[in-house]
């Protein structure tokens, strides 16, 4: 597929299964990678997972086109803890990004309506899913 060739320029494939491709994308190149996904005509983002592996926070975008699953993993350094929004390109990521930001304490730059979703507004303290 053209998109996969395109993405290989920005990151590398670390796992490939039937109907599934898992990419790891460097933090700097995420914007380009998302852009190429958007240009390829994929409109559906199914989920955004986040995981704190101790050193850095891994954010995984799961894009879906019919039965094809495209997963982009982006490690974010803990001292930075911020990432650009993708809601401008994928409106469906609105709530997913909100949850990611409050559960893992990642600042989403340019999110249309930042704020708490599940947690109380006056919640202070460590983001719950940080290790």
């Amino acid at each position: 597929m053209k998109l996969i060739e395109e993405l290989k320029k920005n990151g590398k494939v670390y796992k490939e299964e039937k109907n599934e491709v898992w990419f790891i994308i460097p933090y700097k190149k995420i914007r380009d990678a998302i852009k190429s996904v958007f240009d390829s005509g994929i409109t559906r983002i199914s989920s955004i997972s986040g995981y704190d592996n101790g050193k850095e926070i891994e954010v995984i975008y799961h894009f879906v086109k019919e039965n094809f699953l495209l997963n982009l993993k982006v490690p974010i350094p803990k001292n930075l803890s911020e990432i650009n929004t993708i809601t401008d390109m994928f409106p469906g990521a609105f709530l997913l990004e909100k949850e990611l930001s409050e559960m893992l304490g990642i600042k989403i730059i340019g999110h249309p309506k930042p704020g708490k979703l599940f947690l109380p507004e006056d919640f202070k303290g460590k983001p719950p899913l940080r290790k």
Partner: protein, 383 residues
């Protein structure tokens, strides 16, 4: 300038779900809507990380009461993918039977609720009466009515005996006529048509953009069904149809769900016919490699996604759940703004929201921002 703000929820007679909608009205017309969720935090994602893989099957089945076996099927499918095991065919068919019966009872419950939202209590009573046959079948098959706990890693926990199959088919025969009756009813009833036609419209573009799933997407003409795309379990062996509609209003969603019930019954019959004697469970090798998997199933409300990540121990490192209602919540603004207050319950119900799934999440706050551990939480919930 808004005339007034009407609070809709979190405890409201229309919706037995803890969602808080702020409706800004001009007279009777809804001008803007704001929603907040999270009244139902159970801390399940965190709890899943603190228990081992086997015990988690029961916990995932308790995320939601209505789509209980969809959750546990999704979880077990994910873990089986992680362990790289193939479950026996019989187990696959039993899982299909339970999840299709569950879809049937969920849609019947939904139909009753839709009737209730428009003040049509007779439809509510009739739908719940017929639902009883489905619950009875599930009770006979799995031992419990609502939380079935039929799945386990490597298969199913209970075999399907011959007598149970006969009883199941008998119940399905009764149900067939009743559901056909509902199909005719919703297509022809004067007031159902008046209250649902042209309410809460979502066109194909909205669905693609907002990533809506399940019957809501299919009612707008988007053919998106995980049973068809992923072919998990044995769905590719069974011949069934995906129901779509083009108009995308509350009426279209009603028709899609009612027609889907008929397809579900067909699937159950087919699955029963396909069952052959054999084992129902394989004993998995308890070695969890460091891996990450994603598993998807079609829950009654749409696509359900589990992301499971293991770190070599007997406990998962991370389980991320994206429930169907969570995806569909985004469409609230589209389906409410511009309609009247009286349409709000009908439009919200036509999404079939299940906030218990949505609010699974991650932390329990104890007044003073103290993070409670899972063990404490268990004692806490009874006080």
């Amino acid at each position: 300038m808004h005339d007034m703000m009407i609070p809709f929820g979190p405890a409201h007679p229309a919706l037995p779900e803890p969602v808080y909608l702020k409706l800004f009205l001009d007279g009777e017309e809804v001008e803007d809507v704001d929603f907040s969720v999270g009244y139902n935090h159970k801390g399940i994602e965190k709890a899943l990380e603190e228990m081992d893989y086997f015990k988690n099957v029961f916990l995932s089945g308790r995320i939601c009461g209505i789509c209980s076996s969809a959750h546990s099927t999704c979880y077990t499918l994910g873990v089986e993918k992680l362990l790289n095991i193939e479950i026996p065919d019989k187990a696959k068919f039993i899982r299909i039977i339970v999840s299709e019966l569950e879809r049937l009872q969920s849609h019947l419950l939904w139909l009753g609720l839709l009737g209730h939202e428009m003040g049509f209590d007779t439809l509510f009573m009739l739908a719940f009466r017929e639902r009883e046959y489905v619950l009875e079948s599930l009770e006979l098959m799995t031992g419990k009515r609502v939380v079935h706990d039929i799945n386990t890693i490597g298969g199913v926990r209970r075999d399907l005996s011959h007598e149970t199959m006969i009883k199941l088919v008998k119940n399905l025969e009764i149900l067939e006529g009743k559901i056909e009756y509902f199909r005719k009813l919703v297509r022809k009833d004067f007031l159902i048509k008046k209250r649902t036609l042209r309410i809460g419209k979502l066109d194909k573009k909205d669905v693609e953009e907002l990533c809506l799933v399940g019957p809501v997407a299919r009612a707008s003409g988007v053919l998106y069904d995980i049973r068809r795309t992923d072919k998990y379990l044995k769905y590719d062996d069974l011949n069934f149809k995906i129901v779509t509609q083009r108009k995308g209003d509350a009426f279209a969603r009603t028709l899609v769900r009612v027609r889907e019930m008929i397809e579900s019954m067909r699937l159950v019959r087919l699955a029963i016919a396909f069952i052959e004697p054999g084992p129902t469970r394989v004993k998995p090798i308890l070695f969890f490699p460091e891996k990450e998997v994603i598993s998807r199933v079609e829950a009654p409300r749409g696509e359900l996604i589990y992301y499971i990540r293991s770190n070599g121990t007997d406990k998962p490192a991370r389980v991320k759940i994206r429930t169907p209602t969570y995806a569909n919540l985004l469409s609230l603004k589209k389906i409410l703004v511009g309609y009247t207050l009286a349409d709000v319950p009908v439009a919200v119900a036509s999404l079939d929201p299940c906030l218990c799934c949505t609010d699974r999440v991650t932390i329990v706050k104890n007044g003073k921002e103290k993070i409670i551990k899972w063990e404490d939480l268990h004692d806490h919930e009874h006080h």
